[in-house]
Every structure is written in C-alpha cells, then in structure tokens.
Symmetry: C2
Subunit: 362 residues, 2 copies
C-alpha cells in the first residue's frame, strides 16, 4: 500500500494505492461524520464490487444510496446526469452527503460533476476500478460530461477528498480496458518521465500479464507524475495542458466515431501517434523516437492508426477543443520521449500530411 499526496493547499488530498483497500474501513474513515453516502457505479462494476464497498461503509455506520448507471462513454451525457440528480433528490441526499464514484473514467467524470453541482457541491470520493481511472482520470479534479459537439465540454474542476485505488479490481478488468489504460500510463513517460518510458519498454508484457507488483509500480509512478503536474497547475493555465498529449486528436476520434466506439485510451494512443507524426514532420521529433512510441503502443495492443475521418472533418471536430485560442488549435507536440510542449503553429498542410500518413488501415 502506498499513499501519495496531491498538494493543493486547502484542497489537498491523498491517493491511496494498494491491494484490499475496498474492504478496509480505514481508507473510508474520512467520510465518517456522514451517516449516509451515495455510491455511483455502473451495471458492470456494480455487481462485482458494490456489495464489498457497501459492507465496508456499513462497518463505519454509513448507509449506502446506490445509483447504478449504464456502462460506457455513450452514457456520459445529460440524460444520465439527470438520473443521478433525480436519485439524489428522491433519496433526500443532503449537502453533507458524500458521493463516491465506484468505477472507471466515465463513472468518475459524471459522478464528480454531479458532486460538483448537486446543491452547489457536496463531498466527493474517487474509488477507481479501471487502470485508466487509477492512473489518470480519478486524480486532478477534472469532471465532465460530453456534448454531441465535443467531448468533456461541460464540466468543472472539483477535487475529490481522496482517491482510493484498490488494485485488486484490475483482476476483473477486461483485456481491452487494461490496454486502453496503458495509453495513459505511457503518456507520462512521453511527456516528462523518460526513465519511466524505458521501464515500460522493459516491462510491458509483464504489465499486460497483470503482475501485481509491476502494475502497482506503474500506477504509483503515474499518479506521482499526475499529482506533481496538478499541484503546479490545477486549472490548466500552463503545464497541465501537456497531459492532453494525443487528446486533441483523440477527442476528435471519439466524437467523430460516436462516443464509446473507440475506448478513450485507444483514441489517445492513435491521437498521440498523430501528434508525434506532426512533431516529426515539423523537424521537432527525431523519427526514431516516433518509432519507439509506435512500437510500445503495438506491444500494448493499442491502435497506432487513426480512423480515416478526412482532414476537413478532423479540423471541424478539433475546432471545439478546449485548448483552442483565438480560433487557433493548440497542439501538444513532442521534442523527444520525455519532453512535450504546446504549439499553436501547426500549418494545415502538415496536419493533412499527418492524417494521410497515420489514418485508415494503412
């Protein structure tokens, strides 16, 4: 078991990572003044882990209001959010009633947005059960729902009171989801932690085989990177934007294909290859670095080619990106493995070339 801290002054909070946390009341003791808590989960994770969490909370004298939403990115929308609010109100959840998100990125994002806005904000706890949520989305306070015109367009910065990541839950994670989560793990190596990238190259197969110790290390190292970035730039005025490597292209893929068609991590992998291709074409990233990252994605079972939506459609979709400034799309590009930066000066011709090189069946 390891505990990291996200240093945000009065909004600081711990990230607990380890085995068996879900059944250990200690990690949930911070909720204890509350006599009730609302647990938001989905139809896949609920049957697996909700009873376990409920029992742990009941041991602390906390009764559970259970809110089960459908599984998948396609449901991270208004309709599901309304259902959560209806349930919270029907069960007379109060301003002091904590909301727990038990699940992956979708559950964390939508439950977090509900917590940020129900009665103008209630206590919130992340209990991530997927690799992607444990290494990335549960940390840092980004909450959101999707809009038909753009991913994560409506949301809030709202920090949790704690992140409680029980690595045992990865045992039931579908293969495809494990691989998708690996895209965000690799991201930390690419943007700021070359040593971690080397380690991932040395250990990818053991990670995919779910070696406990390896996964634990990768999760803690990822969270440590994320915690540092978030502490330096909570509301993404600067360095935090680097965490969006591959995400401008990736969000366009997700929105363009329809939410849920590709998993978020898959879209990020293909999107990062596009960002790297742009970087290489601009003479910023040595080709051999591009090849190394493509090779690692392949070993992780991640897509390295984006769907062929066409340059026009990609540009239209990316025009809704949250990093757009004065009509200019700002891209996270790579200088080398371990160093990323933001650029608003990518000529359209270079984008078109990158799409031609990296889209479709190839």
């Amino acid at each position: 078991m390891q505990t990291l801290n996200v240093a945000l002054g009065e909004r600081s909070y711990p990230i607990h990572v380890g085995s068996g946390l879900l059944t250990d009341p200690r990690w949930f003791a911070a909720l204890a003044p509350a006599r009730r808590a609302a647990v938001v989960t989905n139809t896949t994770v609920g049957p697996l882990y909700l009873a376990r969490l409920r029992q742990t909370l009941e041991a602390l004298g906390i009764a559970c209001v259970e809110i089960v939403i459908p599984d998948g990115e396609a449901f991270k929308n208004w309709e599901t959010l309304h259902r959560i609010f209806d349930a919270l109100l029907t069960h007379r959840c109060e301003r002091s009633t904590p909301i727990l998100a038990l699940g992956g990125g979708v559950v964390g994002d939508i439950a977090g947005f509900a917590a940020a806005t129900y009665q103008r904000g209630v206590p919130f706890y992340q209990v991530p059960t997927t690799l992607l949520a444990q290494v990335d989305s549960s940390v840092g306070g980004k909450t959101a729902i999707n809009h038909p015109l753009g991913k994560n367009m409506i949301g809030a910065f709202y920090q949790p009171g704690a992140v409680i990541a029980d690595t045992d839950t990865l045992g039931t994670l579908p293969e495809r989801e494990l691989k998708a989560g690996m895209a965000e793990v690799i991201k930390y190596g690419l943007i700021r932690d070359a040593e971690f990238f080397d380690w991932l190259e040395a250990n990818m197969e053991r990670l995919l085989a779910r070696d406990d110790e390896m996964l634990g290390f990768a999760i803690v190292r990822s969270c440590a990177n994320k915690a540092q970035i978030v502490a330096a730039d909570e509301r993404e005025a600067g360095v935090r934007a680097l965490l969006n490597l591959g995400h401008t292209f990736g969000h366009a893929i997700e929105t363009g294909l329809g939410y849920g068609e590709w998993l978020h991590g898959e879209a990020v992998a293909a999107g990062t290859v596009l960002a790297a291709e742009v970087s290489a074409r601009l003479g910023l990233l040595p080709r051999e670095h591009l090849e190394r990252l493509v090779a690692l994605y392949r070993r992780a079972g991640l897509p390295t080619r984006a769907p062929d939506l066409g340059t026009e459609r990609y540009l239209a979709l990316m025009g809704h990106d949250k990093k757009v400034q004065e009509g200019k799309i700002r891209f996270v590009l790579l200088k080398r493995i371990g160093e990323a930066f933001v650029s608003a000066d990518v000529p359209q011709a270079v984008l078109a070339q990158a799409f031609a090189a990296c889209c479709g069946d190839g």
Copy 2:
C-alpha cells in the same frame, strides 16, 4: 458612481454601482484581451439594453455573441441551460471567451452556471438590470438552475470577474419587480443592519418612487452588507446562511406554486414573515419587531401572507432545502430587527401554528 470590493483573495472582484455604466467602456475594460464575448439576456431585457451593451463592447473591439433566453423563473432549468451550451458551442466560444449576464436574477443564475461549467469554467461578468439582482443575486458567486423537486438544487459557487450595476436600468423595471427586489434590501436590515432598517422605514415611499439618490444608497448599502458576509464565508459554512432568511419557506412557496407564479422576492417576504412568526412563537422575537417588519413589507407592496399549501406539503417541500442536515430542516430565525441566527430546533407544532397564522387570505 461607487465601487465596492468583494475580498476573496485571488477571487476578489469589484462591484461598480452607478448611472450610465452600460455605455461607458471603462467598466468593461477588464474583458479587453478577449475579442469576443457571449452576452446572455432575456426577451424582455434584450430589446431594452442589449444594443447599448453591444456598442460599448464593440468600442473595446469585442464582438458580441448574443444568447437570448425566455423571461422568467420557469425557464431557469435544464432546457434553457442546454440552449445556452448549444449556442456557445455553435459559435465556437472558447475557454477564454467571457460570458456576460445582462438581466435579473434568473439570467445571472443560469448564465453564471453556464460560465462555471462550459469547458470547465470561463470568465464571467454580472451586468444586473433589476433591483433584486443589483442588491443580492449578482454578488457572491451563487449560480444555479432549478429542479422540479427543489429550487436552485443544481449549481456552483462561481465568482464573477466584476459586477457592473447600471442603476439607469431600474427606470424600466416593472413596479412588481421593483417591489420584489425590495424584499432582499429589507433582508439586510433584518439580519445584521438595524440602522439600515430604520433608514428604510424612513424612506420606503421615496425608494418606490425611484428617487435616484435613495436607490443608489440602498443598493450600495445592500452590496456592502453582502460583500462583507461573502468575504467572511464564501461557501456558506456559517454566517452566509443568514442571507437565506425567509428563503427556506420562500423556496417552498416558489416550488410548490410552480416556478414563476410568485416572484422570488415576494416569496421571500411572505417566507420571512413565517420565519418571524416562528421566532415570535418560540419567544425569541418580540412581537413589536414582527409587527414592524410586516408593516414595512406592506408599505413596500409585498405580500405578508403565504399561500395555503398545507403544513404537510410545506414540510415535504422544505425537506429538499440545501440547509437540511441529518434530516433536520435548519431555519434562519430572528432575535430582533438586526440580528438573525440558524436553528435546527423548531418543533413541528410551532411550524403548524405559524402556517395557520400566516397562510391563506387571512
């Protein structure tokens, strides 16, 4: 012209109050790095003041995206919020594009919530055009929409960059709205400013006759009270709850009758009489203070009797109040004119007596 400050550290902002502010680019200069701004207004205020504001912004080189919503509390809901998001996305408003609320409390609350959540938060400016918005709702960062089960149930604390209150706009305010705004003015006298209450007793008729100097004084004094309370307790952990005097009953009236049937200020007036009646019945408030406040509401043309919804229905509606803690409704009560406090110990029998005494045509 007077400028007050809401002291909230890095979230501090000015409140400008005076005549002719809408046409003076100085007060909007803080927006100037932006080349575009989205102005949310309604079908009543838009035709009166949108052109004026547009011209002022254009003088600063800022183009206007105009978003006009229907007028009234009944439209402070999901549907209207969606329309605002659709418009922001369709016009490709960016994370740096400010949103201005030009209108009364409904426009300010919903535009503020849109600003708090569009792309996880964009710059926001309040340009209140009603007395109620100028003295109360535009200051302090409370934003929200209504839910069929409870008023202001979904929202966020999100401070504006400035409040720009042009008192000239009160010239076109319907009589009924002016009176409704007076309920929130009187509230400051009741909860913490007995001297102001005396002044209101001495000057109510001149205020209702829209004497410029009188109104200006009342607005500045109200904002000064509000700014002090908000600075002391931004997120309503303590003293800020006193601003809800009459609001627990008032919100029940608004929700129970259907949003928009009574104006918010009207419901607050009748709700405050209920709170005062409860206070008197508990032996906390001298009867002569209750009579003074009823008399002042009457002179202000405000209702002093609540609709007869029945005790059962009132209790059910108030059970959704944001101040409920562990199932107990917390009421703001009065000790005397100028001093309020929060109590969770109001026996149901006393509530029933107060409803019997203060509801219906009497």
